[in-house]
């Protein structure tokens, strides 16, 4: 563990997905007690709400530009945050949802701060994933649940388990190799369907999901066949959920081995008794 003797500090907290509904008391306290607050949020109205909690809220939106590498954007975010930590300030990075789920900059900022000897940690928040489980009635413990950044299914050879749920993030810009676009299009989603069709029939139902950011909104829950995904309206805030296509396969060999272990354990218990 790194020494934490320097004066500045960093905490990254999650604001949750919906204005007013998800912010926890500890995260709110970190926001109110910080010297400087940086905001990486998904909605300008939510940022106005955050400005009620602190006088010095600095938006990280200014670093985004279509056509500019988002990796550069993310690094600039980290640098902006770290500059205040190095200046000895108590810094709070506030991110929508959970600050550590599908979020590069908060993890990196904490890593760099710690490596330079500053106290830095993360407080969890309610993520889009959490909202999705509630709104769609999915329990990831039932048959399992896989999560992938959608482009990874195109860039790499991944193994999908069609007996579990599959959740795909950032489908609206699937296949963007430049990291400079805010959306791709039907031809790119068609390639995603091509990959998925190796494990799922084209008429398999998928769900386009979006958690509400304002309490006047409802979640977007749109069911459609997998083959219809390229033509569907899918933007950067949407997530695609693919329910299981097959039943769990019984592993008879492993069950037989477990039976042997159980028998041995029960014999040992009898002998001891």
């Amino acid at each position: 563990m790194e020494a934490t003797s320097a004066a500045g500090s960093l905490v990254c907290v999650g604001l949750g997905m919906t204005l007013g509904s998800h912010l926890g008391p500890l995260a709110r306290s970190h926001i109110e007690q910080a010297d400087v607050v940086f905001a990486g949020l998904s909605d300008g109205i939510v940022e106005l709400w955050l400005q009620r909690m602190h006088r010095d809220v600095r938006s990280l939106q200014v670093y985004y530009h279509e056509g500019k590498s988002r990796m550069q954007t993310y690094r600039q975010m980290v640098e902006a945050i770290l500059a205040e930590v190095r200046a000895g300030k108590k810094v709070c990075g506030v991110f929508y949802g959970h600050p550590g789920v599908f979020a590069w900059a908060p993890h990196k900022a904490i890593e760099v701060a710690r490596s330079e000897g500053y106290a830095a940690h993360m407080e969890p928040g309610i993520s889009a994933e959490d909202c999705l489980y509630a709104d769609l009635g999915i329990d990831p413990g039932r048959v399992g649940c896989q999560h992938y950044e959608a482009s990874q299914l195109l860039f790499y050879r991944r193994r999908i388990d069609p007996t579990a749920y599959l959740v795909l993030w950032q489908v609206g810009l699937v296949g963007d190799q430049s990291l400079a676009r805010f959306s791709t299009g039907p031809a790119y989603r068609q390639l995603l369907v091509e990959v998925l069709s190796g494990d799922y029939p084209l008429d398999h139902e998928v769900i386009v999901y979006r958690a509400p950011t304002l309490p006047i909104q409802s979640a977007r829950i749109e069911r459609l066949p997998l083959g219809g995904l390229p033509q569907a309206e899918v933007d950067m805030a949407d997530t695609v959920v693919v329910p299981p296509a097959r039943a769990l396969l019984v592993d008879r060999e492993m069950r037989a081995k477990l039976d042997l272990l159980d028998e041995a354990a029960s014999r040992a218990a009898c002998d001891a008794g």
Binding site: G20, Q33, L48, H54, S69, K90, W104, P106, S151, L179
Partner: protein
């Protein structure tokens, strides 16, 4: 350390809470006898419209009864909220984009995660196409050398 305007915020919240309590009582009793228009005094001189609508949304998001209230219930609460009619219409029609526009906000970019793991993304930083081309050139060279 930030202390904020805690007293005025608390007062605003109490006023709004009273208003919204009035709305739920009104709907429970099915009449307007608990009119609450005069109970609300949350508009401030500085940035008053924003203060008003943000408080309203925060309360809506935090209240178990109001989070999923009917259009009529929300409409009743809005009636005494001294909010611009256009903002009220956007709230009642659940039009987040319109509300953003009325409050001077543009849609935000919500992407904070690269698609490739960091090790590989480093190669593409700032100029991904060039990075990919370099990689392809190297692969071609390696293939040539191997032949």
């Amino acid at each position: 350390m930030h202390r904020g305007c805690k007293a005025s915020k608390a007062q605003r919240k109490i006023a709004l809470r009273r208003l919204l309590d009035g709305a739920s009582m009104w709907t429970r009793h099915g009449g307007a006898e608990h009119g609450v228009g005069s109970q609300l005094s949350i508009v401030e001189a500085r940035g008053h419209q924003v203060l008003d609508v943000i408080d309203f949304l925060e309360t809506l998001g935090q209240d178990a009864q109001l989070r999923y209230a009917s259009r009529d219930e929300v409409g009743f609460a809005l009636a005494g909220a001294e909010m611009e009619p256009a903002l009220q219409v956007a709230i009642l029609s659940k039009n987040g984009l319109e509300l953003q526009a009325l409050l001077g906000q543009r849609p935000f970019c919500c992407l904070i995660n690269p698609a490739k793991p960091e090790e590989e993304q480093e190669e593409c930083d700032g100029n991904c196409k060039e990075g990919e081309e370099k990689k392809r050139d190297e692969e071609r060279r390696e293939k040539r050398d191997g032949d």
